[in-house]
């Protein structure tokens, strides 16, 4: 599936929730389930510093696709990271660089991606896109 298709899938998933609590329980369970990053990445080098919560991000190229791994100390942040990684990871750089992330808004989680929130997610997304753009530039 490409990025747009995965985003559609996630939208369908979230359409099932009428109550905010169900939605957040889903995010929390995603945050709890996924040990998305190995301990070796939970260091200063991989830290994307937020004022409210911390995010760790690693990026690498595997078989021509960019693979992201990320984590957070806050479980809701981690749940949203799980969504973003599910959408953006394991795709070609060009697709990531041009990815439309409007789905976050459509599933009612836009506030978490506001710079005001200062939870590290905005900086993380920026770094993901920059990594893809840099990779493209390198290979052109």
């Amino acid at each position: 599936m490409n990025i747009a298709e995965i985003a559609e899938d996630i939208k369908d998933e979230f359409d099932m929730f009428d109550e905010w609590m169900d939605k957040y329980e889903h995010i929390i369970s995603m945050g709890k389930e996924l040990p998305i990053i190995e301990d070796k990445y939970r260091t200063e080098d991989y830290l994307v510093k937020g004022c409210q919560s911390q995010v760790w991000l690693s990026s690498e190229v595997v078989d021509g696709k960019i693979v992201f791994k990320a984590d957070s100390d806050a479980v809701i942040t981690k749940g949203i990271i799980a969504l973003l990684v599910r959408v953006l990871s394991n795709h070609p750089a060009s697709e990531i660089a041009n990815a439309d992330l409007a789905f976050i808004d459509e599933i009612g989680l836009k506030e978490h991606l506001s710079p005001n929130r200062s939870n590290g997610l905005v900086s993380m997304l920026k770094q993901m896109k920059m990594y893809a753009v840099a990779h493209l530039a390198q290979n052109n």
Binding site: Y24, E25, I28, Q52, S53, A74, V75, I76, T77
Partner: protein, 411 residues
């Protein structure tokens, strides 16, 4: 007359704050982020509107009626501040843009004039960044250094350590009156007395004190006292620096421009008298007048009643919240303002804050602009509920229920 508010009082008071009447995420707003900023009563909102609708003119410089009138209103606000904190003279009240600006003013004038290589400035571990960074900046410029008073695990200043820190190199002491994160009310009078025996001036950061208790700068004998209008039910963008006349007269101006001069020529500028010497440019006129209305409002409620009622809220909330499994309060000083900073085992403050927000409750999470304090406790941040006189025990009950709900979702 009772020395606190009754239920009827509180209902009437709440009706005077339009924001408290709104909903967020479809729930009644429970506003417990008063440490960040307070809500504004209708009287303050109306006063600011009236200024813009009927009185707007620039001040201190016009022969015309409106300029004269708005000048009088603005200066009346200064007089109200003077009476409110019992300053000896109205010239000792400098309008600034906020507590941060007030502290920067003192650091940049006193520091520039008196700090030199080897000078020491004493602050404390529990300072807000705005009472750390201005001093760091001036230290860098002058070769002075910062000395930091340590605190106990309960969040109180170690006074013996403080006293042993003071020496002939100590040039200035700047400490918070009430901690924004811990709620600790510091023994500022003891600090000032000790400093004055050694001729060392003291600034108090009163941003978190003024909204909650009666301040008497003469009784405290503070040399400088800084606070913000927006935390005391007034508008944003206005702050106060109280300074003893002898210091303010002695210090050089902070910013140059209009209003702070007597005469200007390309050869020499003669500075204006106090307080205008420190008030360059057109000030926040509406804000100053709005602050005057906020002071009237607080006085009408009674500052002692406000303090007593908020203390009742703290005493009500502390045992109830502490009964939650794994609930840890950060800041358990004997003498404490109505602030509860907390962590709950197995949860992150960001997650708690996010879920409480969905339930209509506004609290603050994070490091509260006190990163060194967070490092002292070796924690990334806290969740903080900070109360005001319009909060109720019912709201605290709802906070308790909602916290339990959030914790259940997170654990």
């Amino acid at each position: 007359m009772s020395s606190t508010f009754t239920e009827i009082n509180i209902r009437r008071i709440r009706n005077e704050f339009p924001t408290l009447d709104r909903e967020v995420h479809g729930k009644d707003l429970i506003y417990l982020d008063n440490g960040a900023t307070s809500q504004k009563p209708q009287a303050v909102i109306d006063r600011i509107n009236k200024y813009y609708e009927e009185e707007n003119a620039n001040i201190h410089r016009g022969v015309h009626f409106l300029s004269q009138y708005s000048t009088e209103q603005y200066e009346l606000a200064r007089k109200k501040v003077q009476n409110f904190i019992n300053a000896e003279k109205e010239e000792e009240i400098i309008f600034t843009s906020g507590t941060t600006d007030s502290i920067n003013l003192v650091a940049n004038t006193f520091g520039k004039k008196y700090f030199k290589e080897g000078s020491e400035v004493i602050i404390s571990t529990m300072e807000h960044h705005s009472n750390i960074v201005p001093w760091q900046m001036i230290c860098e410029l002058t070769g002075a250094s910062l000395k930091v008073i340590p605190i106990t695990d309960s969040g109180e200043l170690m006074m013996d350590e403080f006293k042993s820190m003071v020496n002939e190199k100590t040039a200035f002491i700047s400490v918070t009156h009430v901690s924004n994160t811990l709620g600790t009310i510091n023994p500022v009078k003891e600090i000032i007395d000790f400093a004055h025996e050694r001729n060392i001036p003291v600034l108090l950061d009163g941003a978190q004190a003024v909204p909650h208790m009666r301040i008497d700068v003469q009784d405290l004998d503070a040399d400088f006292y800084a606070f913000s209008a927006h935390k005391m039910y007034g508008p944003t963008g206005v702050g106060i620096l109280y300074g003893k006349e002898k210091f303010l007269e002695d210090l050089p101006p902070y910013r140059g421009g209009g209003d702070m001069i007597k005469s200007v020529s390309f050869e020499k500028t003669v500075y204006n008298d106090l307080p205008h010497k420190f008030e360059a440019g057109t000030p926040n006129i509406a804000g100053g007048i709005g602050l005057g209305a906020a002071i009237d409002y607080m006085e009408s409620l009674g500052l002692d009643k406000i303090a007593n009622y908020e203390n009742e809220l703290l005493e009500y909330a502390t045992p109830i919240l502490s009964s939650i499994d794994g609930f840890n309060i950060i800041g358990e000083a004997q003498n404490k303002a109505a602030v509860i900073s907390f962590l709950v085992d197995g949860t992150h403050p960001y997650d708690l804050g996010t879920l409480l927000d969905q339930m209509g409750i506004a609290i603050r999470t994070g490091h509260h602009c006190t990163e060194p304090l967070m490092n002292r406790f070796e924690i990334p941040g806290t969740a903080r509920a900070s109360f005001a006189f319009y909060n109720t025990t019912e709201e605290i009950d709802y906070l308790f229920e909602s916290l339990n709900r959030a914790i259940n979702m997170l654990r």
